[in-house]
Each structure stands twice: as structure tokens, then as C-alpha cells.
Symmetry: C2
Subunit: 312 residues, 2 copies
């Protein structure tokens, strides 16, 4: 089933304890599209880029079934630029530079050829931009998922609440879930966010995995314990892309299948952090992906003989 | 199969954001014995208590198959006392008072009737005391597991290394694993600790679950996401008791069965934190325990169709 992804396509400058890159391709929609492309094609991309966005990066995405009709190119504009430095624990980072550039004028237009999308991912963007996309969809998608961040909670909470009221699934990290809900317990946080609109909540916990909430049900997926996290940039967007790519591929958005999709998203994210930027995502081989799924199944699988566990 | 547990039996004073208790029963061997008793009996307890240790607490443990022949009673002595206050996040705490009392003179004697134990749990104690127990065992147990803490790494590292060289499994929390190994990555930490002796390492991550390492294999068990953690005291010892109780019950110490035991330990720990001290552990009903196991299986279980996940 076809998939619509909206988000940023950008340049990043990254500094981790393992090295630095001054200018590498990035952006939420870039990572999400790469991850999703291993499961479903076509992907109908919506974004905005400057004339400086590399032709070969566009060609590489097109070769993976990513449509660019909805990607506005501003020939004499510069693409969004973000620069960050990670701390030693890799869980925290400082933003050094945020140059919106063409993103400041982003007013997405959904082409007619995108109107058949059953699955929609609203990447982390201004809530007003996310709403604009939903307003332009003529048919109700089967599933709309969204990402957001603390920044929008700080400066655009009312708009954010409007988006929340119109999506099926919210994907945030643990600190964002706590900020949005005002609850420390993630169980209470998820319950409160469910009253704001989304029936499904995914709370990403980085190296501690992810939780999926639906009604009173909870699913916990581990992250792959790694010897080295080289660069966490884009891991959350890669998770989202793997998740929605698998949902679109299977055309099954039940809670049971979402559990599998969370594992798929986690597996894809575990690749993402192995190299700078999206480099690892751009070179994946099917056999590597399948082997990584097997690693996750092995990491999680257990046979508890409940019958034996009766008290003596 | 019978199980030997050595550790403290004590009084605790506890303060959490939800209230305080001035004097409640505690100690690593108390929690471990309660948890293990739901799976295997008899439990051969080794500890030291003062004349102030309540008779009814001893009777309650005896009623659950806990043998006291190896528990030294110092009639005019006072039991070990610990007092602590938990921070709001419940993951950190301050020790307010540590009165060793009779624990200062603890020189455990293993009775002849304990020599048939196939499974041994060395609770958190001075490494020299843990070694003394191993020295007194005439038959090699099938499995020896141990707990320890940062305190012993600070003041008795050489002794601790001697114990590590003689046990099969080490159980520590994440910060202790990092301190002992000097490695930040838990995968690297586990590998390094494996070279010190124990073939199996369990790293407890509190609300983030636990990791089991054996050779190059890793198993990740979730913690049950909870709305309220009332009092975390004893959760780690309860985990250990549930783990080794299940291993002893099934008489199966393969890696596969240890994975199940980690889930059992996590389930028992999820009860422990629901009330102050060991109160919840003392009132558990078989049906509650079985229902909690089902919750864990539901929390973890996933059906990923790997065949579908081949790249398109």
C-alpha cells in the first residue's frame, strides 16, 4: 500500500565521541523514507529542499521508489541545516545551529497523485504544517501516525493539540511524553495522551527500547544492546519509517501487527546508529536485515512454562 | 531441588514519596526467600539475626518451607538495620543509617543438613563472607549465583574478584556493572566481567528491565510498566529469589531456562514494589502470580513475519 511521508530533508553537521562530519544528508523524512523503502514502495514524499540538495541523493531515493512530486525545490534557496554535538552517554545532545532556510517558507502541497495513500506519517514539523497536510487529504487514510518534539509543546501547544485530535498514533520519546502529559509514570502519561486523541502511543526510550500502548494493553520491545553507538542521529525517524513501512507493507494496522512493526522499527534503528547520518541505511542488504530481525527475535523470545510456575 | 540462600535478615526504615515506615522487616535473604518459596521448598537459609527479630516473621517463613538451622540468633544482639529515603524518580536513594549490629560478627556456619543444596544464592554481603560459604560446601553445586554492590567494589575489590572466580552467575545493576568493568556499554561490560569468572551475567536496569548475557547471546526482559512504584526496596533481591527459585524448581540451568527465570524474577519484583517492604510478597496468591506471568508474556510476545519483511 502506498505511503505518504512528510518531514524535513536537510543537511546535518554532527559531532559524536567517535568523530565529526561537517555536512551530511539528514532530515526526518530522509531517514524515514530510507527505512520504509525496504518494506513498501512507492513512498510519496512531501518536503522542501534548496537547490543545494544533492542530485545523487535524490536519485538514490528515487531508485528506492520514493516519489518527489510533493517535494518543493527552491532553486536559489538553501536546505534546512541542523548541527548538534552528542554527549559521552549518547543519550543527550546539544543543538549548536538550527538554520531553517527554505523550511521557514514550507507550505506543503499534496499532489493529486498522492491522494491514494492509505498510510500517512507526519514527521516532526510545526503542528500547523502537519494540520495543513491532513486538511488536503481527500480520503481518510487507514492510519495516520505523527512525531513531534518538546519544542512544539513549548511554543505551539494549542496547534499541537489540534493535530493530536486528528491522528491515530503518536510517537514520542519518554521525556516528551512526560512533558506533554505532566505525568512521570509512562503508563499514566500514555493514558492521558490517549484522551487527547491518538488511540495508540509509542514511547521511545532509546537504548531501553520502546513501549506501545493501546487501551489497557502494553507491548515492550527491547533495543538491541550494542557495543558502540556511533551516531544516534535519525534513529527515531528510522524507527518511525521502519514501523510505518512494515504496516503499509502488511496492510494490517491491528495492535498485534503494530507490535511486530515496533520490533521492525527497532531493528532498523539499530542499523542507523552504526554509521554517521543515513550512511548505513543507504547500503543495507536484505540478508543483513533478515539476520537482524532474527537477532531481535532471539533477544526477546522466551518459553516460560507457566504451568510449572504455580506456587508449590 | 533444595536451595541455599545466604544474605541479610534485617529491619528497614523506609521513606518514599508515598509515605514512610519506621521499622519493617527487610534484608536480602528475607526478600529472596519469600520470592523463591513460591517455586521451590525447602529453602536452606543462612543469616544472622538478633533477639529482636520477630518470632512471627520466622514462623511465617518456616511455614513457607524456609529452614532456620543455618540462621544464627544472637539473643541479646540487635538485627542489622538500614534506613533510606527514595528520591522522586524512585531510581535513586540516599542511605540515612546503616547499623551493622550482629552483622558485624557474621561468620556463617553451613549445617550438615544444608550440604545437599544443588542451587546456591550468595546475597549481597562482604565478599569474604561469600567465600567462606563456598569453602564450606562439600559438594559442588549445580549453579552458584551472586549479588554484590558498588560498596564492595570500593573497599574489597580483591576479595570480590576471588568470589567472581568461583561463581557461575553475577547479578548486578547497570551502574555496578559499569563500575566493575570500567566499560560504559553494557555489552562490553558483560564481556569483561565474563573474563573475571561468571559465565552468566544479569544486568538489572530497574524500570527498564534486565539483560542476561551468556557467551555471545543476550536476552532482554522488560519490566512491567507500572502506574505507581510504591517502594522499590527489595526488588532486586526479590528478582534474584524468583530467578533462582524457578531454576531450582525446574532443575534446569540452561541458558534457555534462565531466560524464563529472568521473566519470573521480573514478575516477582513487579509485585514487590506495590507495597512497603516485603508486605506484598507475604500475601501473594497463586492465581495472582499466574496472572502476572500472563501479563509479562503478553507484554513481550510478538509475531514478526520475517518472510514478509524481506526488502521489496
Amino acid at each position: 500500500m502506498s505511503l505518504l511521508i512528510i518531514g524535513t530533508m536537510a543537511f546535518d553537521a554532527l559531532e559524536t565521541p567517535f568523530g565529526k562530519v561537517d555536512r551530511i544528508i539528514g532530515g526526518s523524512a530522509t531517514y524515514a523514507a530510507w527505512a520504509a523503502s525496504y518494506f513498501t514502495q512507492p513512498i510519496k514524499q512531501v518536503s522542501i529542499i534548496g537547490g543545494d540538495f544533492p542530485k545523487e541523493e535524490i536519485a538514490a531515493l528515487e531508485a528506492r521508489g520514493v516519489a518527489f512530486e510533493g517535494v518543493e525545490v527552491v532553486p536559489d534557496g538553501k536546505s534546512f541545516f541542523w548541527s548538534g554535538r552528542y554527549h559521552l552517554d549518547m543519550n543527550t545532545r546539544d543543538t549548536l545551529i538550527t538554520d531553517l532556510n527554505v523550511l521557514a517558507q514550507f507550505d506543503p502541497k499534496i499532489p493529486d497523485s498522492y491522494q491514494d495513500c492509505d498510510y500517512v506519517m507526519l514527521g516532526n514539523l510545526a503542528p500547523a504544517v502537519q494540520i495543513s497536510v491532513l486538511d488536503q487529504l481527500k480520503n481518510k487514510p487507514k492510519l495516520v501516525i505523527m512525531d513531534t518534539m518538546n519544542f512544539w509543546m513549548d511554543i505551539a501547544l494549542e496547534d499541537l493539540k489540534k493535530v493530536l485530535g486528528r491522528v491515530d498514533l503518536l510517537m514520542v520519546n519518554d521525556s516528551e511524553a512526560r512533558q506533554l502529559s505532566g505525568e512521570f509514570s509512562l503508563v499514566k502519561a500514555a493514558k492521558k495522551i490517549q484522551t487527547m486523541g491518538p488511540k495508540y502511543i509509542i514511547i521511545k526510550k532509546g537504548e531501553h527500547g520502546a513501549l506501545l500502548f493501546y487501551n489497557d494493553k502494553i507491548f515492550s520491545a527491547p533495543a538491541l544492546p550494542l557495543e558502540v553507538v556511533f551516531d544516534p542521529t535519525g534513529a527515531g525517524d528510522t524507527f518511525a519509517g521502519g514501523f510505518i513501512g512494515y504496516i503499509a507493507r502488511t496492510d494490517d494496522y491491528t495492535f498485534e501487527n503494530m507490535k511486530a512493526a515496533v520490533v521492525i522499527g527497532s531493528a532498523m534503528a539499530s542499523f542507523c546508529v552504526e554509521k554517521f547520518g543515513p550512511l548505513r541505511m543507504q547500503e543495507l542488504k536484505p540478508a543483513e536485515i533478515e539476520a537482524r530481525f532474527e537477532d531481535f527475535i532471539s533477544l526477546m523470545s522466551v518459553n516460560v512454562e507457566v504451568a510449572l510456575a504455580v506456587t508449590v
